[in-house]
Symmetry: C2
Subunit: 219 residues, 2 copies
């Protein structure tokens, strides 16, 4: 069995992994110890062959006639997703979205630990969310270095996001979870994961139009 | 030139369209009237051949030696994305995330019009966000029918999301923008666009691990 790190896994498979992780977690919670690719297929509404193909990327998790060991598979996928270690993060932008993310206890359950919240607005100074105080931007650089912060969450307007991203890179951040609707220009060693909500809404609107057109053509 | 509606466009292209739309919108704002696929390629950091291939899906927008007419292309992509018509939506769940989305004026600029906000918590009754009052869930069905609501945004816990989705389907909703971390079980004629934030964060964490591993192997 080859080690996972030695293999290149396609981004398409990576996109699907968290969903496997979720279903396996739910199976674990309901006390299911093993599951066949067929049963998992029915639950997840993907083909059994897709499941086998995806999970084969990580070596021989399944056994003929036995199926998958749920706990083992859940743990291994968790390791692949980097969830066996905690990840410290800060939120930059204490507006509604920043506050919403700060309040998600679900992140903490997965090992994402909120260390700090930052904003440029001095009227927010002194405010706390879940006991994490809102700090001013001039403290950001030192704070990241002192608190082993790996991830910065950007919930600020796009007009300032590029500038702040530069500061984050200078401070040695490893990854940016970017909610600002702009492409950040960062070196290759800084990971960016974009959440462009308006683009998601446009895909939804595309699919409504598409459905309406098809429905019209059917008549 | 075939009509757009008659062609099947791959989901991969659809995923990229909003990004084209954004860049073209920014070009328009800065007064650029036409652009070559090469120049667009440099800005967007995708290959020129990818751009030509993607945009060819929608018929002959580009002209040899002239490039793309920015306004025309922007308008056409907007039509394809279903943005030439307004879309009424409601938000279900007036917590932090629901409030954040209700406050996004950017959605309205793109023709997504917030008609109502709903919550199960009676203490929120009487609260308003941008002049839109929070209503109780027992009004939901009638409200959707009376206000030509196409889209419901679900910002409620996963424990209740499946049940609420059923009610939405009964009320004749066309599409659900789902922020609850669960797969909704709806008929094929209801469009679902999922935003699973924790899964996005897991992909980011995967990429950090991956980078760390590669970096270790380099030494």
């Amino acid at each position: 069995m080859r080690k996972v790190e030695e293999r290149e896994i396609s981004q398409a498979v990576i996109r699907r992994l968290p969903r496997y992780y979720r279903y396996l977690g739910e199976l674990l919670e309901s006390g299911v110890e093993r599951i066949s690719s067929n049963d998992l297929s029915k639950r997840m509404k993907v083909t059994a062959s897709q499941i086998r193909q995806d999970l084969n990327n990580f070596g021989g998790f399944g056994q003929q006639g036995y199926g998958y060991n749920v706990k083992y598979l859940y743990t291994e996928i968790g390791k692949i997703l980097g969830l066996e270690n905690d990840h410290n993060f800060v939120i930059i932008g204490a507006g509604n979205l920043g506050q919403a993310l700060a309040n998600y206890s679900n992140f903490e359950n997965r090992g994402f630990v909120l260390k700090g919240i930052f904003d440029a607005n001095p009227t927010l100074k002194g405010m706390s969310i879940r006991n994490v105080p809102v700090r001013m931007m001039d403290e950001l650089n030192d704070f990241i270095r002192a608190n082993d912060v790996e991830i910065a969450v950007l919930t600020i307007p796009k007009s300032v996001a590029i500038e702040v991203a530069k500061d984050l890179v200078d401070a040695g951040i490893k990854a940016i979870w970017n909610f600002a609707h702009v492409d950040l220009n960062v070196p290759d060693n800084v990971i960016v994961e974009n959440v462009h909500l308006i683009e998601s809404l446009m895909r939804l609107s595309y699919n409504i139009s598409r459905y309406n057109e098809e429905h019209k053509l059917d008549k």
